[in-house]
């Protein structure tokens, strides 16, 4: 039986509007129809602030999350899991990629594995040497994930994501706020 998990936003913003830097194309909605499992998260600044007041300092995960969301203006995630390979094409990501252009956006990681069929790209948006946006496009044979985070992100906060949330440590670039040399 087709199982769809849809996490709906509490915010009143519409699906494609809001302070997000990039716009998700309408073609993603068609992918949602084909997907076995859909995760759709839209959290605007108000919702993040509201959620933050419910995050405790007592547990490690929640404390890390609280620190991280402090400077954020939005988190937008679309993740699709398909039953079979070939349910999506790279063209589906083309419209998003076309919005991630320099000098605003810089591609910092691009991993393509023919063997595993994995294709991951990480883009950062920088302003005055500080990260103000992060976009991850991750394509696997039966899974497509788009993560778009808007707001001030410190590299050490990103590194904090590792070691928490059940994820091993991540070494994310240089320490401090200056990513100019990265």
């Amino acid at each position: 039986m087709k199982r769809i998990i849809t996490v709906l936003t509490l915010a009143t913003v519409s699906l494609w509007a809001g302070p997000q830097d990039i716009k998700f194309p309408a073609s993603l909605e068609k992918l949602a129809d084909k997907a076995e499992e859909v995760t759709d998260i839209t959290l605007d600044a108000n919702t993040l602030g509201f959620a933050s007041s419910f995050l405790s300092d007592k547990t490690k995960d929640e404390k890390a999350a609280k620190d991280l969301v402090k400077g954020l203006k939005g988190i937008y995630i679309r993740s699709y899991e398909f039953e079979e390979e070939g349910a999506y094409s790279m063209a589906d990501l083309g419209e998003i990629r076309s919005q991630l252009k320099p000098p605003e956006w810089v591609s910092i990681v691009s991993v393509r594995s023919k063997k595993d069929g994995e294709n991951t790209q990480i883009y950062l948006k920088k302003q005055e040497g500080k990260i103000v946006g992060l976009t991850i496009l991750a394509a696997e044979p039966t899974e497509l994930t788009i993560v778009h985070i808007v707001g001030s992100i410190k590299p050490e906060d990103l590194a904090k994501l590792g070691g928490n949330f059940g994820i091993p440590n991540i070494s994310m670039g240089p320490a401090g706020d200056n990513w100019d040399d990265f």
């Binding site: 509490l10 959620a51 007041s53 995050l55 999350a65 990480i122 993560v147």
Partner: protein, 115 residues
């Protein structure tokens, strides 16, 4: 005198009320005045003042608790979404890092020499 005059006089003659009519009217007026108003009616339905106050306080408490519960439920749901979003982000970053490490390891492998 004409018959018309007689008829007119007959029609306008004084008719005495039945005995006890005035007493009955006065008694009804007194009864109307004694009937309780809507406030007294409410008082009768909802009981004495302390009970009414308690009922209002209980109602206010239920409303406040309901609003508080609804807010708490929304907050917990928002928190769950934030944690899920960060978990997905962390998983993708880690997958990317693993991919980079794999490429680096491959590049470090000694190349076979062709003889």
């Amino acid at each position: 005198m004409s018959s018309f005059d007689d008829e007119l006089r007959g029609a306008l003659r004084r008719v005495e009320p039945p005995p006890g009519f005035a007493e009955r009217v006065l008694a009804r007026v007194a009864a109307e005045r004694a009937r309780p108003g809507w406030r007294a009616h409410l008082r009768r339905v909802f009981g004495p003042a302390p009970l009414r106050l308690a009922a209002v306080a209980a109602l206010a408490l239920v409303i406040v608790a309901g609003v508080g519960y609804e807010r708490h439920a929304r907050g917990e749901e928002a928190k769950r979404q934030v944690l899920l979003a960060l978990r997905i982000t962390a998983r993708q970053l880690q997958a990317a890092e693993r991919g980079v490490q794999r490429l680096n390891a491959r590049q470090r492998e000694p190349k076979e020499t062709i003889r």
